[in-house]
Point group: D2
């Protein structure tokens, strides 16, 4: 082991930029050191013109207020392929209709909330009536959908029906970014599809997206991935490399999950090297901290540096 | 607030049974108190003849050595509906072929593992060659599959092709327990389906399972759920009640996930009451502890009590 | 890397003992595998007649209902040296006076509790009036205390004044087990000492205990440690080896703390090897799970095996 | 419940300052929303001229590179009373001697490190020889120490012997900020005191600091606390209010600890209201995220706003 890089203590200055703050972490350890590393990898990944950039997003990032950041990333061409959860898409559609989520509190009486028809997502409140409007909107969008398609096509169709440039789904549709959502039925969209299918034919094939995704991996010169949370998006992105001779060249994970339970969400990115999902020499780092703080930090720092 | 139930300190005796240990937690607080509560709810749920029992299993429970416990639960009719991840099913199929997972260590050199063709799941090692045998097995099973079916039918077909009564998939098939796996493509099964579809037609509809599941919820007199981990299984089970006038009457979650990040995996079961997923008066508890310890504890305690 | 020990899946039987359950984890991984390892190390440590056994206890184990288990361990000679927090001792003294802690709930209105003079410790409630009685008791015990002593002597004096064989402090006093509590002033005992010193002399020397502890480490043939939580008890025990040529031969930690924040509480026991606190070849394991569940499990399993 | 404050999604701009980033979180939820709340409370607390400001620091913040931030806080009069751990002070003294900590990695062979005489603190490496130099320095500083004093006096004496304005201990000494360290013996300082006492008298009284601290609490018009981590610093600060009729008016905690294990470190600040440690109407928030990221963020944001 070598003792070559002395810890340099972070120093704060008046009116410093986010980019300067993150740079001041370059000589730090623990989370601060990892955050700097993540920002540095992210910059490399964005500077690499031949890198296909994956973004995996689990968790309730949209209700938390992270929607604009993600749609801006898409429109700025920082994301080539998006993999996310049905929940994030449902909440994105709700916001695209001009309907809001509200700041609430997690210290509350959930039975009373139920009586007031307010749904809770940690410290976010959502009026139940939004879902009635969502139903109307979705059923209207589904009206002219082809009766046989893949999940990405299904989501692209929904995106085309939205009227809000800050929408993640709409932005992805506009920019030609495919949105993968393997467990799409595990969301209100799934319930709406169930409703729709009571009267109309609709066949969305589970496996139809695999070919396009794997082809994309084969074709890519280099690949990088930014993972928020873990869950299905993390695994789906990483496993897409398994059948190719390649592996991810850049990998960043922002999560609070922990390795010791053995689940994939908390698994280290080193573990992914044993599978060949992340390359032997790939730069990879996990920042164990709240992603609603670290994602904006890394994105804002990247904006300042280019 | 009332001060009625004094803390009674746990007392250990020689050769005590698991059931006695869990009973000794009945006057304790924190995790011990919650574990007792979970065991007590589980007993009520099993004793309730009119309760439809859901079991949600995320995480890598099969590689960890929990497979026999789950298949026994199915064969003992403790599970009516199983929702799990593709990973657990893949590892179940591997074991059903007489192929083993191995105890390894998480403190290791993953690049060296890669060179030795060993895949790592935390402290479990898996030889890569198992996947070649798995491919052979799965392609053989798929040979006579109908070209149009739902995910549960797809998995039931695979289960029927296995030859190991300790298999979860086989046991579910034998006992008529439907296996829901919304993100089935997010697993080696998905990659195998991609391979199969290069030469053969296969159409597995994403939404085809919704009707059967929702009908089951409508028909159930009462419902209970035991959730291991969080992820898609948790949400998929809980949301199945959203379109019915009902809600879960019993709910247990065994997890290490935490609420503060706002994701569904770590959300409290109280939060689910605001949505009407868990009933206002339902008994519900979350045990924040490693599920590979708490699941066997609760199951063994239940065995002793009846 | 070797693939020698196949994962053997846990199998539950009717009326199985805790010892049998823990044995059934011997072929498992993740938390279950670690729990078995911890129980196995604990047995070795207890069987080793020349091993000096340390027990470090942070967290609120007494309010949770773990007091009897710990006092039994002391009386059964399973602990030679106890290091704990002031809080655990305060709650032990309260219980020794026949005053109870009560089961409450963590989902509550803390301002209302304040108005009712009820103090909360997660899901444990404690009437504030207990502290008035504690004051009376402690001031009475302090009446005849020498005016110059060490922390262990101070605590032994308090232990001698208690009248409850289930008390941790009383048991330690009776069995000649020294109780180290480095931050004793960080507890109600500290506030009571402040009160006492307003009228009487009392000099408890911070460093007076170091000699006895270090001498004990020098003299020990072999040493083992069981750590609950982390905090001061963990560090104080581990650092006691630093000035000796020895290191711990057995080490077990039961905690939910995580390594990534860099604090000592969550540090791995491997990290302690780099310092020479834990031996190069020592058996050591951390179980990442709620200690109010895992401590009783390991103790009950040990009782069954001997 | 009211639905009044719509979630406003964070929006990033080129070269935005830290203060602007934190402001952009004002309409967000989860960790981002809490971070904004913490920064806002911190500003209020600093603007309140009659507020006595406590700072509690557990964890290994100095090895991580946070030393300069804390010493700047002291010199900028943002801290009136500091409560911390022996470890942070030991590492502060080492750095004040011009000796460095080094960036290492947590994925390493600790036995090999031991052979190279390198101590590890997560991903920080420290050559063991630093401790020999520390011994020389400390024994030299102790040479002219009074033989009877309190812990704060003991630490002030050490601070006066350091020659580095970036030192936390030296800055505290220079600015007249008392440094409380209840478990001072639980650190290399304790081992050095043991060595010193083998030839010289030294009596540092455990309880001698209580009076000064409690008097300070009585005298304060208003009080605020910023807690990093948990541990002894958190409890010692909060309990200091117990014997006064007052309670904290502002409270911020930055931690990764969780409430469910029942320990004080992870306890919510609401729990502290039931004890009267935090006021009924006090503004209080916990940010569950890595403090090496959130502390600099909040401090840098505060610098920009005043």
């Amino acid at each position: 082991m070598e003792l070559q890089r002395a810890i340099r203590h972070a120093k704060l200055t008046r009116d410093m930029t986010v980019s300067q703050l993150v740079d001041s972490f370059s000589g730090c350890a623990f989370g601060a050191g990892r955050l700097w590393e993540a920002a540095d990898i992210y910059r490399d990944m964005q500077d690499d013109r031949e890198c296909t950039k994956f973004f995996g997003m689990a968790g309730a990032m949209v209700p938390a207020g992270m929607r604009q950041i993600v749609s801006d990333m898409i429109r700025n061409r920082e994301i080539d392929i998006l993999v996310t959860t049905g929940a994030n898409l449902v909440h994105d559609i709700i916001e695209s209709m001009g309907l809001h989520h509200y700041k609430g509190t997690e210290a509350t009486d959930d039975v009373q909330l139920k009586h007031q028809a307010i749904n809770r997502i940690y410290d976010v409140f959502l009026p139940e009536e939004h879902f009635a409007k969502l139903e109307e909107k979705l059923q209207s969008i589904l009206r002219d959908i082809p009766d046989k398609l893949s999940i990405t096509e299904f989501l692209s169709h929904i995106g085309s029906g939205l009227d809000d440039n800050n929408s993640i789904l709409k932005s992805a549709h506009d920019m030609g970014v495919p949105v993968y959502c393997p467990a799409i039925q595990d969301s209100i969209i799934g319930l709406q599809a169930w409703l729709y299918r009571q009267t109309k034919p609709l066949n969305v094939d589970v496996f139809a997206d695999m070919k396009g995704l794997i082809d994309r991996c084969y074709e890519a010169k280099r690949t990088g991935v930014l993972i928020v949370g873990g869950g299905v998006p993390k695994n789906f992105i990483l496993q897409s490399m398994l059948v190719t001779p390649k592996s991810f060249d850049y990998a960043i994970q922002l999560t609070m999950d922990r390795p010791e339970t053995g689940g994939l969400s908390g698994a280290t990115l080193d573990e992914a090297r044993s599978w060949g999902k992340v390359g032997e020499n790939a730069r990879a780092v996990t920042v164990y901290s709240d992603a609603t703080i670290t994602l904006p930090l890394i994105m804002a720092a990247a904006k300042g540096r280019r």
